[in-house]
């Protein structure tokens, strides 16, 4: 029985979509509401008749990525409210390993495991992989660690405070460390000289805090590369058609590698066919 209800619900949604997809674009929500209800109680075929209000389904939101934010209120069963996001462009994204959450612009929908159409039409759904503006996270990182990630590693002089601590305590075996080391050896400058001349007026207390934080500071290489490009890969974890928000988390580690591989495969295919 429960199975049948599920089926009917899907069917009603299906027919509703087909018959009144034009209504969606006009955005006539009032009429659409009644239309849904009417369709639901109509006879769908010889033997399936949906006679109860709780059996209804509504049209999918198909939240698009767009700069005029549109969120509609929907009254649902029990008098409760759902926020149906129709167009969104920002969300609250969290960087898990650093435990920071920032509101950022969503730039691009990049991958959807269930349907490529949703990528093409830039539809925001839970579980989609998007590209997100990296600026707020960059700013936070700078403020927290005193380090600017994503700067090109051309000259050592530009890397202000890259290693705020001394080389000995810096645990990163990056290009960074080698560069600085070579720079210092070559020019004969002492580390303390460059660090003093750079940043304006960080109080002693703040500097000590920054140095202490340097010890735990680790950054994944893939993420660093993304910061260089100004865009981070993130996954949507909320349901925009239900709560009206498009929040999520920044991909890291194994998950990030997994999706990057998928994206490269797609690009490879596109490049070979084009």
């Amino acid at each position: 029985m429960a199975l049948m209800l599920l089926v009917f619900r899907y069917f009603s949604g299906f027919y509703a979509q087909e018959a009144c997809h034009w209504r969606q674009e006009e955005g006539m929500e009032e009429e659409a509401k009644y239309l849904n209800f009417a369709l639901v109680t109509a006879k769908l075929s010889d033997y399936c008749v949906l006679s109860n209000r709780y059996e209804l389904g509504r049209q999918p939101a198909n939240t698009k990525l767009s700069s005029n934010k549109t969120v509609r209120r929907v009254r649902v069963r029990g008098g409760n409210v759902k926020w149906r996001a129709l167009r969104l462009d920002t969300g609250n994204y969290s960087w898990g390993s650093e435990a920071v959450t920032r509101k950022t612009r969503i730039l691009d929908v990049v991958y959807n495991a269930s349907n490529n159409e949703l990528v093409r039409t830039q539809t925001l759904v839970k579980g989609a992989i998007v590209q997100v503006d990296a600026a707020p996270f960059k700013q936070w990182y700078l403020q927290h660690y005193g380090v600017e990630i994503g700067r090109k590693k051309k000259t050592a002089a530009k890397k202000e405070g890259e290693c705020a601590g001394s080389l000995a305590t810096c645990e990163e075996k990056n290009n960074c460390a080698n560069y600085i080391y070579i720079f210092y050896r070559f020019t004969g400058l002492k580390e303390t000289e460059t660090t003093v001349t750079e940043e304006a007026k960080k109080s002693n207390h703040v500097q000590r805090k920054l140095e202490k934080r340097q010890q735990d500071r680790k950054i994944d290489q893939h993420i660093e590369e993304q910061f260089g490009g100004g865009r981070l890969l993130a996954a949507i974890a909320s349901r925009p058609g239900q709560c009206g928000r498009c929040d999520g988390y920044i991909l890291e580690g194994k998950e990030l590698e997994f999706y990057m591989k998928k994206l490269q495969k797609k690009k490879g295919k596109g490049a070979s066919t084009a």
Partner: protein
């Protein structure tokens, strides 16, 4: 990794994979983070569930289902589906007029976690869980009414479901029992 077989990244939602702090030591032997739980009612979590690497959200030990309601037992009738089996329960039904019994059976589909290895004929204990969809998808061809053309992508999938209500909790492998499936063992 062998377990990433789907198009989306499979992971246990309660486990955060990228934490900078090294594992506190649930000590599954591999030092990895794994979420598993005990399902109660005296059933032991198999070692494979706590130490393995599979991801199954419908597994009672490492996923998001709870076992409540009925606990039944039967034999595995067929194990050809992915992660689900058909459990056959035999029973005798009393026919009053002839004062005799007749053989009857019922088939129950049950979800089986990758931590169990089942063959046909194994005795199996299953527990009731919430409805768990075992989906095969039917693809719809969408007919665009305005343009009268067939846009043949799959926009809308209606699952052909077996919605399964049971989950395997324990497997008692039948040794090389002579008759196997054919034997009628009334429960």
């Amino acid at each position: 990794m062998a377990e990433q077989t789907e198009k989306a990244f499979l992971k246990q939602p309660k486990v955060f994979l990228c934490s900078k702090k090294t594992g506190k030591g649930k000590a599954p032997g591999k030092g990895g983070n794994r979420y598993f739980k005990s399902i109660g009612l005296g059933f032991k979590t198999p070692r494979e569930a706590s130490e393995g690497t599979y991801i199954d959200k419908k597994c009672p030990f490492t996923g998001n289902v709870s076992i409540r309601g009925r606990i039944l037992a039967g034999t595995c009738h067929s194990a050809k589906m992915m992660r689900t089996i058909i459990v056959r329960r035999n029973y005798l039904h009393w026919v009053k007029k002839y004062q005799r019994y007749e053989k009857r059976h019922s088939n129950i589909p049950a979800h089986i976690s990758p931590c169990f290895r089942v063959k046909e004929g194994d005795h199996v204990t299953i527990g009731q869980c919430r409805l768990v969809p075992q989906t095969n998808y039917q693809f719809f061809m969408l007919l665009d009414i305005q343009n009268m053309e067939l846009t043949s992508f799959c926009v809308f999938c209606r699952p052909l479901s077996k919605t399964v209500r049971f989950n395997v909790l324990k497997v008692i492998p039948a040794g090389s029992s002579g008759l196997g499936k054919k034997a009628f063992t009334a429960m």
